[in-house]
Symmetry: C2
Subunit: 491 residues, 2 copies
């Protein structure tokens, strides 16, 4: 794309000025339309060093209300903390909220191409990164984001000239470093890598715009024009349903809830013996997980009063409290609801070597949000695939992902609700909402069966915990966790 | 405190076990009482290396519901990112929310004493840290936090024995490092420093509990007993009003709002010339601020429709968008309301070299929260001092803190409200609430006068911007920002 880039002819100075001012004013108006239409806007600036990304940014935002945009400045290299999470993590936690703009002064492209030109990223890892990025960008767009990507292009000669000018002025010398000159020295190799990246990620959901950056003002105008155009389209399309994609992941069979026998029990003696044995083993494994830097994610879903809390407790009681964290997931707060529904889970991903346990999860999208109408039908139908992709990302990063469905029958739930209602210390556990949800048991059961079937992937399968006998369910959960950690740690 | 520490006699094994189990059960029950009473609980573990803080923690939380507590594991040394904020920052952002426990596996003591025993912290800086910590702990307690501080104490011989045991076992060798042995080698010097720190921070709002850690189980029981006792007291006292402290900061005189002449204006020509000149200067200074790592905080308060937004825009339009951030402050979200009211501002503090502009601020506490009854009278009366302390902390860290009060009269507000109502593109700026607030003008004026008077400190004084003529106000703001940055940068 860079090699055969056809430069448009630059307007003369007067026209450039007039058009730029018109576009700046239009962007200011568009900012308010975006705010009203609640579209989140990601604007990504990539390009050659010294290609005037910074000064173009300053001109682009000139008439915007600074209260409703943000700028993220990201380094090519993740910090130690960041590198202990999936590649996408440090970008995903930065996505803007609905109605707001976020400008990225370099984003995931920079990290990938930086590693690539220096030979630090293998072909295989490169392909994986490209897949991750294309998936992320598509997911964002499908969930209502506008993603505008600009590549600032300058010739080798022009770049050299700019770098030298910056270096030779004592006031600007600090802006240039060895890396910039390295890029210029290896211009052709870099071009090869950038060009390949641009082609690999030039999808219709988020296409690339190559900016002819031979001149700052001209570059600014191009960005402004594309950006305003993109906003018009995004606002026009904001109620368009995104395509539902065919499933590409290998799924395992899973029985219907109704076909799962719930008569499994465990004697007290066996329970206590197994509890002790498994805890000791889990304690050892937690140490190995910590030292081997394995991230672990344990997800609990299940009926109200199925015994999730007690089950989680039996896992955590074997763990070093400095190495795990339990996240009870309630309905999203405003700043969470205003972003991609997976954002609040991205934020909570454990760093490698740590364990995150979710008491309710991202599957809320295809259960409560579906049934209560908190998202559109298109949203929840798309979510199965999006969730599979999310979990794939985690597993590819080396994480152990364990998903539990804690199962009981309607009668057992009624008994436990009644018990909670009648026991003062347990009353905080039961609310009107629980009773209301109970009335929708059949609808939920259908939704859950669909969810289990569509997300029972080979890399992150569901484990059903038969929890009429809580002892049985706890031991089963512990055994699964131990087994999965043994596999991951090679023990 | 360590030197003359009187060890209590340890109960025998049977008694220890029985009492521990009773206290664990009590803590589980207390956890629910804390949740209900909405008390936030900070539990701080400090002490000698290998004094079994970790294993005591695991035993203390044994019966607790893991969904309602968290553990923060903090290093003695801040990361590069953390060290670019005030000393307290990385701790303050971690404080728990109401009804939740947070266990700190070392907190601010560790950082201070680590620097102190290695001679990296001067007497003067040490005193400053102690002041910061005492202030922070008192503020937390005054705002309803329970802060429990435990120091795990072992003898030199015992520590040596434990370190050697850990080192000699291949499974645990990684837990011990050079620093641990260094501490043991310098036991007496460390003791001196620890003892001094404990005495310096042993205030009644958050007293120290020295834990005799010669034995893990015994240490656990001591922590449990003190913690349960502390919780009982905190729940009993949760409606107690905190003392109102005498102001200790030098205050400057400031006129009443009614006495501020609002007839100041600026001709168009002067406005445009000055705007251009000041922007150029501010652009240069932003560069210096960035390179000198000066943190800058600009706080805007003022009447609705006083022109804050436009004023802010004239500042930001001179700045590199990668080096500043504007925070519009609305009413707090649930996770913000559940913490100390300054928490959401701590979270948003700029890193050094960056500029944070607040469109409305922490002064909401003594204006809207006071007048709408969102906090108690004791809360807002205490807040003047707390806010002065907060700003002092920022200034002591080297920050430039600029506070603007944007002033108009009632008639001007009415005209602007009416204009907003009648102009379609401006309608988003006006709400029913604005009209309601307007009716309380007199009450607000009294509250604002009190606020200006009580928080017009010499280190962070208010600047009134007479904004009937918006041009005048913008130039005045720019001049003040330029002047303050020149002072800070020595230019």
């Amino acid at each position: 794309m860079l090699k055969d880039f056809a430069r448009a002819s630059r307007p003369d100075k007067a026209e450039l000025k007039a058009r730029t001012e018109a576009e700046q004013a239009k962007l200011a108006a568009n900012q308010m339309r975006v705010k009203e239409a609640k579209v989140p806007v990601m604007v990504i600036f990539e390009g050659w060093g010294a290609a005037s990304k910074g000064s173009a940014l300053a001109r682009v935002i000139k008439d915007m209300d600074p209260r409703f945009f943000e700028v993220a400045t990201l380094d090519a290299k993740p910090t130690e903390e960041e590198s202990r999470r999936p590649f996408l993590w440090r970008y995903m936690v930065e996505i803007p909220e609905a109605g707001q703009f976020k400008f990225f002064d370099t984003c995931w492209m920079e990290e990938v191409t930086y590693g690539r030109v220096r030979g630090e990223l293998s072909d295989e890892d490169y392909e994986k990164r490209i897949d991750s990025i294309n998936t992320a960008e598509r997911q964002l767009v499908d969930n209502g984001y506008l993603v505008m990507k600009f590549f600032f292009h300058v010739s080798k000669k022009e770049q050299r000239r700019r770098l030298e000018t910056l270096r030779d002025n004592p006031d600007t010398a600090w802006r240039v470093d060895k890396e910039d000159f390295w890029e210029n020295d290896h211009y052709e190799d870099c071009m090869q890598v950038y060009d390949r990246y641009l082609r690999d990620t030039n999808r219709s959901s988020a296409p690339w715009y190559i900016i002819d950056a031979r001149d700052r003002n001209w570059a600014t105008l191009q960005v402004l024009e594309y950006l305003n155009m993109g906003i018009d389209v995004a606002i026009h399309n904001r109620d368009v349903a995104a395509p539902l994609r065919q499933n590409v992941f290998r799924l395992r069979k899973i029985p219907l809830l109704a076909d799962i026998p719930l008569d499994k029990t465990m004697e007290d003696e066996e329970y206590h013996e197994e509890l002790k044995r498994l805890r000791t083993r889990l304690d050892e494994l937690h140490n190995v997980v910590y030292r081997k830097h394995v991230p672990v994610i344990i997800a609990y879903e299940g009926w109200d009063a199925a015994g999730k809390g007690g089950n989680i407790k039996r896992i955590t009681s074997a763990l070093d409290p400095r190495g795990y964290r339990v996240y009870p997931i309630a309905s999203p707060e405003p700043h969470e609801k205003a972003r991609h529904y997976l954002w609040r889970f991205w934020k909570r991903l454990p760093k490698s070597g740590h364990i995150a346990i979710f008491d309710r999860t991202w599957y809320g999208r295809v259960m409560v949000e579906r049934l209560e109408g908190f998202c559109s039908e298109n949203d929840w139908r798309r979510a199965y695939n999006e969730i599979n992709e999310f979990e794939k990302e985690l597993v590819d990063d080396g994480a152990v992902v364990i998903k539990f469905w804690v199962q009981i029958d309607q009668q057992t739930q009624l008994e436990r609700f009644t018990d909670r209602q009648n026991t003062p210390e347990k009353q905080w556990k039961i609310t009107e909402e629980d009773w209301r949800n109970r009335e929708k048991w059949d609808e939920y059961e259908d939704a859950i069966n669909e969810m289990l079937r569509k997300t029972n992937t080979s890399f992150a399968p569901w484990h059903v915990l038969e929890s009429v006998d809580k002892h049985y369910a706890r031991i089963k959960a512990l055994r699964i966790v131990v087994e999965e950690l043994e596999k991951a740690c090679g023990r």
